[in-house]
């Protein structure tokens, strides 16, 4: 059975997994040959984290059709919870890196999922740009609260404080989260392998959800809320489901990101971070999982590749971003694209126009 005879859905699923596994194999081989520069190999774990974040945000923005501007908030909830869990586990004598990570990631994901659920209840009462601004507000609130959050651990257990590290009341403990100075002394256990596994888990969760009955309900709510409601779909439930799952996955990605560094600070997870993830999703295509993977990886590497022209790289990044968005809508581009399509797609008109029409309608539904 060739790949052409498969259902389009199965085909795209296989291609998505193949991209991730292929990237892992390719990078491992190149690394073995010593072809990967030091700065790039330092980027491998963040790339995996951003890919997971983009895929999970795509569940909210692309699949569920809600604009969320606070994804970094859930990432930080996961990151800081994970750091505390890993700190406690390390103190209890766990040394295995993978075990530390799994413990941290599971608890981090649960914490972020719970926060996402609680945030989602009020958020899902709103729509469109109002929903966007409230997610932005929650992201900022989480960042602000983490700034006054102090956690330490000693033999008596965990200590919390909202004023300063001295009032934790510990005798011989370690400070895990130190207010605006962030989480310190993190166990650096994240590796590229763990990152790829997390990406695969994230992709599997999102794709399985999308292709399930629940996923179809979520997409029905996106495409036409009133029609979905009239056939008995509980719209709030399904929107909340997408939001909560995405938050939990963002939490796990946050753990991966945090455990790649020895220190993280709350101000890293600000509005700009959320926007960065949103850019990956929009650039990769709404609801398109492999698109999110590729654009997140590409856009994380781009500033590194542009490092030789250090001063101008962010300026160039901005220009690339604008051009990628604007050029497909210019008349010249459309004319060239039409001409090319006519030249190369002769006799292959079976499904292309239909797919385009559907994509266009999907785009309009978000407005």
């Amino acid at each position: 059975m060739g790949i052409k005879t498969l259902k389009p859905q199965t085909r795209s699923t296989i291609i998505t997994y193949a991209i991730v596994v292929g990237a892992f194999v390719l990078v491992t081989i190149l690394d073995g040959l010593g072809l990967i520069s030091h700065s790039l190999s330092g980027q491998l774990v963040p790339i995996c984290a951003y890919v997971s974040l983009a895929v999970s945000l795509n569940l909210v923005v692309g699949v569920s059709g809600e604009l969320s501007l606070g994804h970094a908030g859930f990432m930080s909830v996961g990151a800081f919870t994970g750091v505390v869990v890993a700190g406690c586990m390390a103190r209890a004598g766990v040394e295995n890196g993978i075990l530390l990570f799994v413990g941290a990631a599971v608890v981090g994901a649960i914490a972020a999922g719970v926060i996402g659920f609680l945030v989602g209840i009020p958020v899902m009462r709103l729509r469109g740009d109002y929903l966007a601004i409230v997610t932005l507000a929650f992201g900022e609130i989480i960042k602000n609260l983490l700034n006054i959050f102090y956690v330490g651990v000693d033999d008596a257990g965990l200590h919390f404080s909202l004023t300063d590290s001295a009032s934790l009341g510990m005798s011989k403990g370690t400070i895990l989260i130190n207010g605006p100075k962030g989480a310190v002394g993190i166990e650096k256990v994240s590796t590229f392998f763990i990152g790829i596994v997390l990406v695969l888990v994230t992709v599997a969760v999102v794709l399985n959800l999308m292709h399930s009955r629940d996923g179809r309900a979520i997409m029905a709510v996106r495409d036409n809320r009133i029609a979905a409601e009239s056939i008995g779909i509980n719209t709030t439930k399904y929107r909340l489901m997408a939001f909560t799952v995405a938050s939990a996955l963002a939490g796990a990605a946050g753990v991966l990101y945090a455990m790649n560094y020895s220190t993280i600070v709350p101000s890293q997870f600000d509005f700009n971070q959320s926007i960065l993830i949103l850019v990956y999703v929009v650039l990769g295509g709404m609801g398109n999982i492999s698109g999110s993977i590729i654009s997140a990886a590409f856009l994380t590497v781009l500033p590194e590749v542009l490092r030789p022209i250090n001063n101008y790289r962010m300026l160039l990044y901005a220009i690339v971003l604008i051009l990628v968005m604007v050029v497909p809508h210019t008349k010249i581009y459309q004319r060239i694209a039409d001409a090319l399509r006519r030249r190369f797609r002769k006799g292959d008109f079976d499904d292309a126009p239909v797919a385009e029409a559907v994509a266009e309608e999907g785009g309009e539904a978000h407005e």
């Binding site: 009020p122 601004i133 409230v134 929650f138 602000n144 006054i148």
Partner: protein, 293 residues
């Protein structure tokens, strides 16, 4: 008296938010887009004024005029190059383009002006006013800011209500296609809105730097987000709503800083926004839109 001082400071900060929020709300009303680059136009305006006064030696008022002209031109150029081709694209694409423009302006400013903060107080500084035998001290900046906000509000309400251009703007925000059929040039109307919004942003930039005199390439981003919040709070698309939302937000922020904690003042501001949106999902003065099947 401390309460009164805080109230006046809050209203002054709120006036700046209100002026910025006007730009957001007008652009949203007519082009249905969230212009995330608006905050960075504030920063550009403040830099133009700073350069005009400190490098060219112009008087402060000429510096302000120059920055208004500069930002107006910037607004029109950005709209023409980046947003106009996307008139019929999905709104998220326009949002990402606006973010690209925001990055571009910030990094261009970083390259031209450097990352070290510039002190605005060295070029323009106004004395403080003492009232009631020194019991109440108000900075002249605060008074000037509030007056400027009131003047702008009145002028803008008159403009949208009485003039032909204002009527065209309202028609475009009501129904763009119908307005076009009535012979209104939609493209030039949208350009006009961007021009007005950006010019106002320049004034807001100068006023903000009078009160908080540190000028950096990232100066505009946080006030931009707060003003966006203010516009939503008041009901996005509504001009009086933007003013009300801005002033409310400024007062809440200053009171939260004074009586709760400086560290979580922003959290309080955003929490108030969420509570208000839950009670009135379309903002304070926004009209709820009924969905049609």
């Amino acid at each position: 008296m401390e309460v009164l001082t805080n109230l006046i400071n809050g209203m002054s900060l709120g006036s700046v938010y209100a002026i910025i929020a006007l730009g957001y709300t007008m652009v949203y009303g007519i082009a249905k887009m969230l212009n995330f680059a608006h905050g960075d136009v504030i920063m550009v305006g403040a830099y133009i004024c700073f350069c005009a006064v400190s490098y060219l030696g112009l008087p402060a008022i000429a510096g302000v005029a120059l920055s208004v002209v500069g930002c107006t031109v910037l607004g029109i150029v950005v709209e023409r190059l980046a947003y106009k081709p996307l008139r019929n694209a999905p709104s998220l694409n326009v949002l990402i383009t606006a973010i690209g423009v925001s990055y571009f302006l910030q990094n261009a400013a970083l390259l031209i002006m450097g990352s070290d903060p510039k002190s605005f107080s060295s070029i323009i500084s106004l004395p403080a006013l003492n009232l009631f035998d020194g019991a109440l001290t108000i900075s002249a900046t605060a008074v000037l800011t509030i007056l400027a906000c009131v003047a702008i509000m009145v002028a803008l309400t008159m403009f949208t209500g009485k003039t032909k251009m204002g009527k065209a703007m309202r028609a475009c925000s009501e129904d763009r296609d119908a307005a076009q059929l009535m012979g209104i040039n939609v493209n030039s109307t949208i350009s006009m809105v961007f021009a007005i919004g950006s010019g106002l942003a320049a004034i807001a930039g100068v006023l903000m730097c009078l009160a908080y005199p540190t000028l950096m390439p990232t100066t505009g981003s946080m006030p931009g987000i707060k003003a966006f919040t203010a516009a939503v709070l008041g009901g996005i698309g509504s001009i009086p709503g933007a003013a009300l939302g801005g002033i409310l937000l400024g007062v809440i922020e200053i009171f939260a800083r004074a009586y709760i904690s400086t560290q979580i003042a922003d959290a309080v501001v955003f929490a108030v926004l969420i509570v208000i949106l839950l009670i009135r999902p379309a903002g304070l003065l926004g009209k709820p839109v009924n969905e049609k099947v």
